[in-house]
């Protein structure tokens, strides 16, 4: 029989710490597959964030560092500048990147820092128990918007790729989703371009991956994926926002 898919070797044997049905694991697998396919595993340093993926280094077998909350892009910058031969990925949640870490992310993007950012948007802070994130939808109930997110009080969902597209530093900016096999295939294509941007020294790259947090959304994993399609993607549409030449 022909092997169609096989768990990448770069995924460790260790069980993840994620809740059942949490798409963090899908993102991990895509990264691992691409690193293998692009022959980058041995050059890669992943900067892990504070968030549910804080233990990511236990699950993807590359060199790794654990950043302070929100500072992954700064730390990635330090690594890349000091050691430009390394392939540097910054893996960040939406609390980590869009809230506390927005300055470091914006500036890494504006500088065209040669790093690739994998940005997981699950609409809340998973690790700390489901508080509002900058990406939380209007009306969405979280542990810190118990009456639903109200724009007058809590502001509006933040669209990172759209914002970053106004900068000159990025070589590749896109948004994909992890809710279905089809979207996951597309997400991998986008991630490949993001990694290519770094490999070809073109500039900063970022892919937002629309994810789910079934636990804090208080849904089954299947319902959560449904919610992505019905409620999240209309607000956060899939697409490529910046594609420099040489990325494909």
């Amino acid at each position: 029989m022909k092997l169609i898919y096989k768990k990448p070797d770069t995924i460790t044997e260790r069980d993840t710490t994620y809740c059942p049905g949490c798409p963090h694991g899908i993102a991990h697998r895509l990264i691992a597959e691409l690193l293998e396919e692009m022959d980058l595993v041995k050059k890669t340093v992943i900067v892990w964030p504070v968030g549910c993926s804080v233990f990511g280094y236990y699950f993807i077998a590359t060199d790794a560092v654990e950043a302070a909350h929100g500072r992954a892009c700064a730390m990635a910058t330090g690594i890349k500048r000091a050691h430009p031969e390394s392939f540097v990925i910054s893996y960040q949640g939406d609390g980590d990147l869009a809230s506390i870490g927005i300055a470091e992310a914006v500036h890494a993007a504006a500088r065209g820092e040669r790093i690739s950012v994998v940005y997981i948007n699950n609409g809340n802070y998973g690790m700390t128990g489901g508080q509002m994130a900058p990406t939380t939808l209007i009306g969405q109930v979280t542990t810190t918007t118990p009456y639903g997110r109200k724009p007058e009080l809590n502001g509006f969902p933040m669209h990172v790729p759209e914002m970053f597209a106004a900068l000159d530093g990025p070589a590749y900016i896109a948004r994909a989703a992890l809710d279905s096999p089809q979207h996951i295939i597309q997400a991998k294509k986008f991630l490949r371009k993001a990694f290519t941007a770094q490999k070809n020294n073109l500039g900063f790259s970022l892919v937002e991956l629309i994810s789910a947090c079934p636990t804090n959304w208080k849904m089954t994993p299947v319902e959560a994926m449904e919610r992505i399609r019905k409620q999240v993607l209309p607000v956060f549409p899939i697409g490529e926002f910046k594609v420099a030449k040489g990325v494909e």
């Binding site: 029989m1 022909k2 092997l3 898919y5 768990k7 069980d15 798409p23 694991g25 299947v222």
Partner: protein
């Protein structure tokens, strides 16, 4: 026939995503219980599996270790 889909039951967290995306409805959550306390998914109808890999693609725990497709029968 060999299994088209190899599931590592110890890794499975019973999330049901594979079951939900299988176009052929050949997966289900089993009655067994793994050491983490979860009922792992199982392929109950190997024959009708079309090896599309959707289960692999969506499994967040990399519990779907392999997906294989039978080689086309030589004519």
């Amino acid at each position: 026939m060999e299994k088209k889909v190899i599931i590592n039951e110890e890794r499975c967290k019973s999330c049901g995503l594979c079951v939900s995306v299988c176009p052929k409805h050949v997966l289900r959550i089993s009655d067994r219980i793994n050491s983490k306390g979860y009922h792992p998914a199982e392929l109950f109808d190997n024959e009708n599996c079309i090896s599309c890999g959707f289960c692999y693609l969506i499994c967040p725990d990399m519990a779907i270790e392999e997906v294989r497709r039978p080689e086309p029968v030589k004519k």
